[in-house]
Each structure stands twice: as C-alpha cells, then as structure tokens.
Amino acid sequence: MDILDLAFMQRALLAALLVGVTAPAIGTYLVQRRQALMGDGLGHVALTGVGLGFLLNESPVWMATAVCIAGAVVMELIRWYGRTRGDIALAMLFYGGMAGGVMLMNLSDSGSSANLSSYLFGSIATVSEEDLVAICILAAFVILTTVGLRRQLFAICQDEEFARVTGLPVRMLNLLVAVTAAVTVTVAMRVVGLLLVSALMVIPVAASQQIARSFKATFALAVGIGVTVTVSGTATSYYADVPSGATIVLFAIGLFVVLTALATPLAKRRAGRTAAAEECTLEAPGERTAADDVRV
C-alpha cells in the first residue's frame, strides 16, 4: 500500500491511532461524570498556548500542553470554590483563551491565518517528527492514567461523595482527570483540531453506550470505535483529499447512527428473553402475598 510508504502519512496514521485511543479513554470518564463538553472548553484554552508557541518560537504542542494544563487546574479550582458563579468564570476562561490565542497568533511573525485554521480544524499531514514525539509521550501519560487508575477514576466519577468516604484522594484524582483531559486535547489537536477535539471524546463513548452494558465494555468499545474512525478517517482524507478532522468526526457520527439503529433490535431481543422466562397471569382476588407489599 503506497500510503504506508510516505513518511508524513506514517506519522499521520500513528498520530491518528494515538488520538483514537486517548480521546475516548478520557472521554468515558468525562461523560460518566457529565462533563462531556469539558474537552471543548479546554480546546479553546489551548489556543492561547498555540499562539504563545508561535510568538515565542517554541513548540506549539508543548506550549499548548502547558497552557491547557493550567486551564484545567483553574477549571477544577472554579469547580471547588465558585459554585454559584462557576459558569460565568468558565465562560471567561474559554472565550478568553480563544481570543487570546487569535491575538497572539496575529502578533507573531510566523503565525498566519492558515496556521490558525490548521490548529482549529486539524492538519494531520503536517505533523512533524517533533510533534509526533510529543504526541507519543503525552499519549503514554493518558493511557497509563486512564487504564492504570481505572478503578479509582470510576469510583470518583460514579459517586464522588462515596469515593471521598472510601478515603480516596478525590481532589487529587479530579485534578488528574482534568489534567489528563487537557493533555488529550493537545494530543488530538494536530489530528482533529481544537474545535473538534471534544467530538472524539464524546461521540465514540455515546456510540459505545448504545450497545455496551458495563463501564468496562463501554470504555473498550469506545476506544475501538475511536481507533476505527481516526485511522480510517485519516486514510480517507489522504485518498479523497479532504480535511482529516472533519472526516474523522463525520465518520464517528455515522458509526453512532449505525450503532443506535442496531441497538433497538438488540434491546428488544434482550427484553424478549427475560419476558419469555416468566409469563404473566392474572390471579383470583384475594391471592395477594406478603411479597406484593400492598399496604392498604
């Protein structure tokens, strides 16, 4: 296959694979604790980092990582302390991050609007060797965290109050989830772009939920779906000469629709199996048992 002989496509496919694993992995926890759009906000914040990278002639990926982690920490602090006005503060953070990024890009010599849009919407074919090293290191961190600490993270995302009474360091783990999400944003930035990052954290999980019944299965299937759409989307973008980010996200949505359509008959079959086991019969009056618990 000629696509694998091209160095830039090798890099692109490896980056796509890593995004396909990491974004749904952290996304499962975010969806579980109903913060599905956290990735979107962090994507906005990361843009300031990209702008800073251009302005200071540093690697945009590493600068975005630093700024995004700082943004995630601030978000967690807002969640702890600013419950009442939390959403206003978050809005300031997100849109400030976006505006700051655009401004900084314009101030720098090397930043152009073409560059800006490659970060906003992804430009997988321009992933450099240096970018790829950064993506590999960051992805390793995300995978280690989401798999290695899965029980702890499951506990805090499922029931924070209970987790705290179990003695888990809930604040530390919450912070870790936020930081991991921030890191994932920068992993995915080159592939799907900052504006579409959140899609890869949420849609594979939503698709997986249509058929999975356990957390473990949801997690595994979401990662499988993530890898499928990122790799196939990247290959398609090469052959059809279309933008990678948009292709990947549209593929993910397509898979979601297919799985949703499949889920309905599946659920019916499951329900049918249970119903067949026990037939309902109407009893004669006065045959209520104590187990019915009808108290009059």
Partner: protein, 255 residues
Amino acid sequence: MEQPVIALRGGVASLGGRPVLRGVDLAVRPGEVVALLGANGSGKSTAVRSIVGQVPLTGGELELFGTPQRRFRDWARVGYVPQRTTAAGGVPATVREVVSSGRLARTRFGMMRRADKEAVIRALELVGMADRLGDPVDALSGGQHQRVLIARALAGEPELLIMDEPMAGVDLASQEVLAEALRAQVARGATVLLVLHELGPLEPLIDRAVVLRDGCVVHDGPPPEAVGQHALPGHDHVHPHAGPAAEPIRTGLLT
C-alpha cells in the same frame, strides 16, 4: 469504659448560612446499633454527613475510633451508604462494577485480587443480589438499587457502617432482606449508625435511638414508642410529609 467508635460532642454545622446542627452530642460504642430519628429538616442527615466529613463542622469535637476526624485516615474501617449519590453515571455500569468500588479502600493501588472479588460476591449475596452481578444498575428497581448501594458499603467489610435512610423507597420484602443483612453485620461485631424515618423491620435490631429536632438531641435512649397516628394498629406507613413521595428515590446511579 470502652472507647466510642463515634464521639461527637457539641457538634455545630450550618448549610447555606442556616444552622442545622446546634450542639449535637452523639456517642456510638463498639457493637452498638444506633438509629438517628427525626422529622425532615431535623438535621439527622447533616449529622451523619458531618461524621463522614461531607459537611464541615463549625464547632464541637468529633472523633472516629479515637482519632480526631480531621486526622482520621483509616476509612477502610467505615462503610457508608449515602442517601443518594451525586449526579453522575452518564455511562452504564454493572452491579459488580459499582459494588467493587466499595472494596477499593481494602485494595492496594486498586488491584482486585481473588479475595477482593470474593468479598464483592459475598456482599451481594448478603443483600440477595448475587444473581444480578452483570446487570446494569440502571435496569434495577429503586429497592434493588438501594440493596446494591448497601452491598457496596459491605464489600469493604467495615467495622462501622453508616447508612443514611437505607430504607427510603424500599418495599417491605427488600426491607426484610436488608434487616437480615444488617443482623449478619451486627453478629460479626460491626457497629451501625443509621438514619431512619421509621423503625420498621429493623426495630428489633436497634439498641438505642437518638431523636433530633431542629438540630438538637431531644431523646437518647431506647427506641421511642410510636406516637399519634403511628401508634394505631394497622398504621399504613403512608407518609404525607414525604411530599411528592410517589416519585421513585433518586440515587443518582439511576440517571
């Protein structure tokens, strides 16, 4: 005298600027089963939540197993059944997965070894839910769901069991199962503090009842006799003060 498992002296706490606990004294000794009773808003849930560190005390002293609660780290000794879990669970989870998280405090770095897996099954057997291991929790009824939350607390084999209204929204059959599970805990020497609305099938297990009213202890001793309509034979336990009681109990795991 034996050191109390829970020692709360002059506990003061407020929620949203309103005082909810106004100097509560509560001591629970090893092996005791203590019921915390009182009307809605009397502060019984807040008392329990301050004991497990969910509501900060603004005054008074609190010790768990003889250690000031602030410095208490040995949470594996405590099993907690919250009244309802915080809104979470956007992803399906099975009964086994939820109950396993109650075993975390007993594991090292969250590794579930064979003994841990067995403890999870045992806890589910205690509440009669072992056959539902692989079912998603959102497919359960309110009573079954409550049993799972109790199994989660039992999975860690705690010395002290703290339960906030474990019987709310639970039908009589499930209440009997839970009473049996609780009896087994007491038999193995566990200490129990539970918030209750009515004693129900648990009554024979209760050693002592503490009644709160407006954030103050008004009774501390043997379980009080039912008063008013509750004392009538055939009292139907339909509680008008439960408000929109027809609504199923929301534990958060169901959503």
